[in-house]
């Protein structure tokens, strides 16, 4: 599991960085989104996945039956917060890229005069 997560995080960061370095505005915005997703996967992985017991998660004592593996709830809360922020930022980036395109009359960042 850890190896799969590591590959996923590494791959997402690589793709995101590649997109961020493009000249096209929309690709840069995609890059922003992908890099953010990479950090979310990373954050989830940082919580670790371990066997749930009643000491760790009180609700499991009364849940009955077999308990599947559980993840750290703190990182879930962090990722939720980060997703909301990232959503807002990406939306702003899209609007801004459209406006920057209108003002600078080019989608190519290197062709901007200033």
């Amino acid at each position: 599991m850890s190896a799969a997560l590591a590959v996923a995080v590494g791959g997402l960061f690589a793709v995101g960085t590649f997109l961020l370095l493009q000249r096209d505005l929309v690709r840069v915005v995609f890059g922003i989104a992908v890099v953010s997703q990479a950090t979310f996967v990373y954050l989830i992985a940082m919580g670790g996945i371990e066997e749930g017991t009643g000491d760790l998660v009180p609700v499991l004592d009364t849940h009955g039956g077999a308990v599947p593996e559980i993840a750290d709830p703190v990182v879930q809360a962090l990722v939720l917060t980060a997703i909301v922020i990232s959503f807002g930022t990406t939306a702003l980036a899209l609007v801004l890229s459209y406006r920057a395109y209108e003002e600078n009359e080019s989608m190519d960042v290197t062709e901007w005069s200033r």
Binding site: V35, Y42, M46, G47, L78, T89, S113
Partner: protein, 535 residues
Amino acid sequence: MSLLVIAPLLVAVTTAVCTLALGRRPRLQRAASVGGAVGYVASVSVAVWALVLGPAAPGAAVYQVGDWPAPFGITLVLDGLSAFMLTMAAGVGIASILFSVRYVSRENQRVYYHPLFHMLLVGVTGAFLTGDLFNLFVWFEVMLIASYVFVAFYGTDHATAASFRYLVMNVFGSALMLVAVGGLYAATGTLNMADMARRLATPDAYGIDPAPVVGLSALLLAVFALKAGLVPFQFWVPGAYTAAPAPITAMFAGVTKKVGIYAIVRCYFTVFATASVPVDLPGLTAASPLGFLAPVLGAMGVASIAVGGFGAVGRDRLESVFAYSSVGQVGFIAVPVAIAAAADPAGAFRGVAIAAALVFALHHALAKGLLFLAAAAVEDATKTGRLRHLGGLAGHSPVLSGAVFVGLLSLIGLPPLTGFFGKFLAFDAAVRGIASNPGPSSALALVALLVGAVLTILYATRVWTSGFWGRETAAVEVASADSGQVAVLVALAAAVVLVGVGFDPVYRFAETAATAALDSEAYVDVVGLNGGDRA
């Protein structure tokens, strides 16, 4: 536990909401905005006096959000360091909003200017108060989202391009910060700064391995340096500073940059300093993350001084000169911090060097705030910000020029202005750094400060002689400065002089702040983690 800790935060949020609701009543909205800023200053003053500086003050206080005990909930802490930074933010904030009301056109003020301004204050205040690493990230984002909009505020080609670049840079920075925060959580098992300091001090007791902290802290350093605009992360500074409305640029230079510096000092000196981790890199061996910080931040500071200084000398626009100067001046703040990191942990010198950095930060906030606002007033009056079109302003509008003169002299560092003490203490720290830690790196720090000081004199003189002396140019002859704007400038200039003349209490405040920054145990105590392991 005290509601007073979050009073500035509450005031700023309430004002943001009120100004948003009053969008259709411009006059009321402006009044609410200014009133909110006054309330912010009042709440900061009361909180700082009652909790940190006053005779009966406990020295530090904490607010546990939702009454959750410390390592589990979010903790907001007002200690000496936070108090110092908040006071600075309040001073620059009130000047900036008063100037905005007179400077930004009425139509533009109605376009969410005031709510955004107060949201910027909310973000800054939260970042100064929080005692939780992830929460710090959230406050950074609050501050940044307001900043993106402000950089793009005028919607021109320049502004949208600058804002887009600023946004991409900072989103990547935020991603790195999340990586660092997540890594620190995995390594130490906590996000609470006080808890982290405690765990790093005795890693065996908590069964954690502090080794990854050095690398993760380096990631954090990169993010904070990006916020502070230190070389090699300075390239967004000139574009964003010249694109944003001038009063906001004063806020950027005076306050949001200092958030980066504050975060470096808080995280490294209060939290990571407690860890003893061997650092073994090529050309760098040390016993704690601070040993890593010292050379890296020192090099960044020295490079910032050089880039900022040389960049400022050649610029033609007043705003660009001050934007580059701002890069250099942050170097002047970073170098004493680096010297403090290299100093003996047990000695008193470390606190002296931190206090020097804080005093310089205060000086920079006041003087650069004054100069950015003055540049805006000059541009408003003459319709040009280019030095080659300016000249003879000293004879034409003596009061405005007088305020600029005070700002430039403070930048150069003439007594009895605030800048003198900032420079004096920075040099003092550098000289003592050589005495306590002889070697080429300490000498380089001193040389860099000297070169930086000479460059400051150079560009300050250039601004004054070509813009304010000489024959009045055509643009200056028809100029008429707005009296309200000039009044704000005069008030800021008076603050620069008064802080310098009555420097003793200011220095004691800075010393209190430095002590608070270095005393991890007291920080842990305040947060309520002393005695026994709650977890």
